[in-house]
């Protein structure tokens, strides 16, 4: 399972820091696994818990939300709201028995291509042993 299974990960990246950071990773030709499909949002503060639930419901094996470091938010405080809102969502998902690794958050600045690369690598490494996420996935 571990070596064959390729987790499908959705990453919500804020435009100004994390998406820019992931662009930098590209510009610097860093390499990381291809499991993550990014969705660019304006600010991590705009990520509703529904987005995470929906991604898991649609069969994501893992979800990442990444924004600017506290204090660096392009919109001054959006990431602080994200931090609070998504902490609750994470607790809730773990409460119903979802593996904590399945939903994670990170702060990645526009200068942290290296960190972004690292996070994706770790994310994939952690998700592989878990196998496919079937708990919240819809079966039509």
């Amino acid at each position: 399972m571990e070596d064959t299974f390729e987790p499908r990960i959705v990453a919500f990246l804020c435009k100004w820091c994390s998406s820019a950071g992931s662009d930098l990773a590209g510009v610097s030709r860093m390499e990381y696994p291809s499991n993550v499909t990014p969705i660019q949002v304006m600010c991590s503060g705009s990520v509703s818990p529904l987005y995470i639930f929906s991604a898991l419901n649609r069969g994501a094996d893992g979800v990442l939300v990444s924004g600017c470091h506290p204090g660096d938010c392009h919109y001054i405080k959006g990431n602080y709201y994200a931090r609070r809102r998504l902490a609750l969502a994470k607790k809730l998902l773990e409460h119903i028995g979802l593996e904590p690794e399945r939903f994670q958050m990170s702060w990645v600045s526009a200068a942290e291509g290296q960190k972004y690369t690292q996070i994706i690598k770790e994310l994939v490494r952690e998700l592989k042993p878990l196998g496919p996420q079937t708990k919240l996935r819809r079966k039509v």
């Binding site: 818990p49 529904l50 639930f53 929906s54 419901n57 506290p70 405080k77 602080y80 709201y81 931090r83 609070r84 809102r85 902490a87 609750l88 969502a89 994470k90 607790k91 809730l92 998902l93 773990e94 409460h95 119903i96 028995g97 979802l98 593996e99 904590p100 994670q104 958050m105 990170s106 702060w107 996070i119 770790e122 708990k135 919240l136 996935r137 819809r138 079966k139 039509v140």
Partner: protein, 343 residues
């Protein structure tokens, strides 16, 4: 001790003086022992009002209907509505005020203190009586309930049949009211989160197996959201069609209704619905426990809401329903909010 007579008197006065439109209280239900919501319009009807350990309902829920009704009236009667509230219900009123759903002068709050008790848990009671049919329940003198059944009377210690939510209640008397009946006797609550701690101690997989079985039972009758005063949205994000629609709603807007989850009562969609409800009630749920009581298939919904309540307190020092002027849980933050879970 709450004096029901003085409640009736106050109610009568309000109605006679035309100070309120009507009064939402409790009356004996058809089956003879449980309370039902009562809508008292005439002074003479105040005699119907009762107060006993079966007054489960969170009557703040009906303020939502009242607002909708008023919105439709041509010349709305702007007098307040009188509403009887327990401690938990009063906190629901606080949330409705905090979220500007109602204004303070829309309601005349008749507060009842639960004092040393609260409401009974029907299921616990049924187990106790096993088969016997209750006809009347009263709060006894010494921390017990007097349960009258078709054959005689039983004295049951409060703790044994009291509803979980009352055992964990943070304020067993109204935090907001225009008149208060009964004493503000703070009941000692050892651990307000007892019920979920067992749950929390489980391994991830056991948690999952528990919820898998439990939520598979959900028939999506939506009694939980229907009975909840906080679920006042005209259109719920989990509804698959939009009906908060007016003449000027464009076809495009209608087409844009998102189908986050399917109507099918299958596990994945049931979980989605319950996750959405739990997260939307975070920092808003005041643990009146009505959702859990109303659920026909016994889903322990408090275990979801209580978890959010606990985290709100633990992570952000936030308690719902005590201060209408405070910003709601997710519309504020502190610089020192925890972020150890963030890479």
């Amino acid at each position: 001790m709450v004096n029901i007579q003085s409640l009736k008197e106050e109610a009568r006065k309000c109605l006679q003086e035309g100070k309120v439109k009507y009064i939402i209280g409790y009356e004996k239900g058809a089956d003879g022992w449980k309370a039902n919501p009562a809508f008292i319009k005439k002074p003479e009807d105040v005699e119907k009002l009762i107060w006993d350990p079966t007054c489960f309902h969170n009557l703040a829920r009906f303020l939502v209907d009242e607002k909708r009704r008023k919105a439709k009236e041509k010349q709305p009667d702007t007098r307040p509505v009188g509403v009887v509230v327990k401690g938990c219900d009063s906190r629901a009123v606080v949330i409705l005020l905090q979220e500007k759903f109602i204004e303070r002068n829309d309601v005349y709050i008749l507060g009842l203190s639960c004092e040393k008790a609260g409401v009974v848990d029907e299921r616990k009671l049924a187990r106790k009586l096993d088969g016997k049919k209750p006809v009347k329940i009263e709060l006894g003198e010494k921390d017990n309930f007097l349960v009258f059944t078709d054959d005689g009377k039983a004295e049951i210690p409060v703790r044994e049949i009291l509803a979980e939510r009352c055992l964990e209640c943070k304020a067993n008397f109204p935090v907001i009211s225009d008149v208060l009946f009964g004493e503000k006797t703070k009941r000692e609550v050892l651990n307000p989160f007892q019920s979920i701690e067992k749950m929390e101690s489980l391994a991830q997989e056991d948690k999952w197996n528990f919820w898998k079985q439990t939520l598979a039972k959900c028939i999506r009758c939506y009694a939980c959201r229907s009975v909840c005063p906080m679920c006042y949205c005209d259109e719920c994000v989990s509804d698959t069609i939009n009906f908060a629609v007016t003449a000027d709603t464009t076809a495009e807007e209608k087409a844009q209704k998102i189908k986050w989850l399917e109507k099918s009562p299958v596990l994945s969609e049931n979980i989605f619905y319950n996750l959405v409800r739990a997260i939307h009630l975070a920092g808003r749920c005041i643990d009146c426990g009505e959702c859990e009581r109303a659920c026909p298939v016994n889903i322990p919904l408090r275990l979801l809401n209580k978890k959010m309540e606990k985290e709100a307190l633990k992570l952000f020092g936030y308690e719902a329903g005590f201060d209408p002027s405070q910003p709601s849980l997710i519309s504020c933050f502190k610089d020192e909010d925890p972020q150890d879970f963030i890479r």
